[in-house]
């Protein structure tokens, strides 16, 4: 991933760059490993929007996205000593963010399944637990779906139904504007695998959205 950290940590910049990461990343990592609070603050301020945005794209819930984004930075704070620079800092952060967001999604799905099972045994008028996200509607009126926002909402619903790897690749490409190489680094896969993931994701989405397009 390209270096994107215009840091102004003048006291921390005289550091030899480990192989694989650029000097700004290396300086930031070295400062973080020394326990510099200024470096941690700089890291958070540089990446908080991107990490939060990525997590929010996957979870579609502001509270959960905030919680997971915080978890990412807490993990960075606690494990930065073990960071050896095999990947760039940005790649590592995106990797943490996507894996934690997917874990949160799986947990929410498991809770939803459990809530469904318990609802079968309980009274039908029991309220739904607050921590279970309702399934977004996917059967809106076709005419209403012509509206741009509704089409986008439908797209998001369908993206959420893609397999995890395709979902992450699609969102990193189309919402975070990452290059194919960057996505490959985040997913720990090859460039051709990313091309394949994106091709299949687009194909599936187009197929599912086709009935809702205006010409249909």
């Amino acid at each position: 991933m390209a270096c994107s950290l215009p840091l102004l940590l003048t006291d921390d910049l005289q550091v030899d760059a480990p192989s694989g990461i650029c000097s700004a990343d290396a300086a930031l990592v070295a400062a973080l490993q020394r326990g510099s609070e200024a470096a941690f603050r700089a890291l958070v301020e540089q990446y908080q929007d991107r990490i939060y945005g990525t997590v929010f794209s996957l979870l579609q819930n502001a509270e959960e996205a905030e919680d997971v984004a915080q978890e990412v930075f807490v993990e960075v704070y606690q494990t930065i000593a073990r960071f050896r620079g095999e990947a760039t800092l940005g790649t590592w952060l995106y990797r943490l963010a996507t894996s934690r967001a997917l874990k949160s999604l799986r947990k929410a799905r498991a809770q939803k399944r459990f809530a469904f099972l318990t609802s079968l045994l309980s009274q039908p008028d029991n309220p739904r637990p607050d921590n279970i996200r309702p399934e977004p509607p996917d059967h809106a009126h076709p005419l209403a779906l012509l509206e741009a926002q509704q089409q986008l909402q439908l797209l998001r619903v369908q993206v959420a139904r893609l397999p995890e790897q395709q979902q992450v690749a699609f969102l990193l490409r189309h919402e975070q504007d990452l290059s194919y190489e960057q996505i490959a680094a985040v997913l720990g896969t090859s460039l051709s695998a990313v091309e394949s993931l994106l091709f299949r994701a687009r194909q599936t989405l187009r197929k599912r959205l086709q009935p809702h397009f205006r010409h249909a």
Binding site: V44, Q48, Y52, Q70, L152, L155, H215
Partner: protein, 96 residues
């Protein structure tokens, strides 16, 4: 007059949808994200749960569990003694 000539093709609709997706304002965390993060980092860590379940840590339950284990792991005193047949060199008289 039908306006089918002006209807976008599926490719155009898809491209427009992708453009709209990219044009969406990015989701941002609420203000003071760093302050909330540092508060979380400095918050006292909750005590780790004990390796044993709570009910097992109660003495009464522990004693009861011990009694059950002792009862079930009998060493043969409650069973009738083993008597080997004479053909195998055993005694027909049960040992006292």
């Amino acid at each position: 007059m039908p306006d089918s000539a002006f209807d976008p093709t599926p490719d155009e609709e898809w491209a427009a949808l992708m453009r709209r997706l990219r044009a969406q304002p990015p989701a941002r965390p609420r203000p003071f994200f760093y302050a909330r993060l540092t508060a979380r980092l400095t918050a006292p860590v909750p005590a780790r749960p004990m390796p044993l379940p709570a009910w097992l840590r109660r003495p009464a339950y522990a004693v009861l569990l011990g009694a059950v284990v002792l009862t079930l792991s009998g060493d043969g005193r409650v069973l009738p003694p083993l008597v080997l047949p004479a053909a195998l060199g055993g005694s027909s008289v049960p040992p006292r």
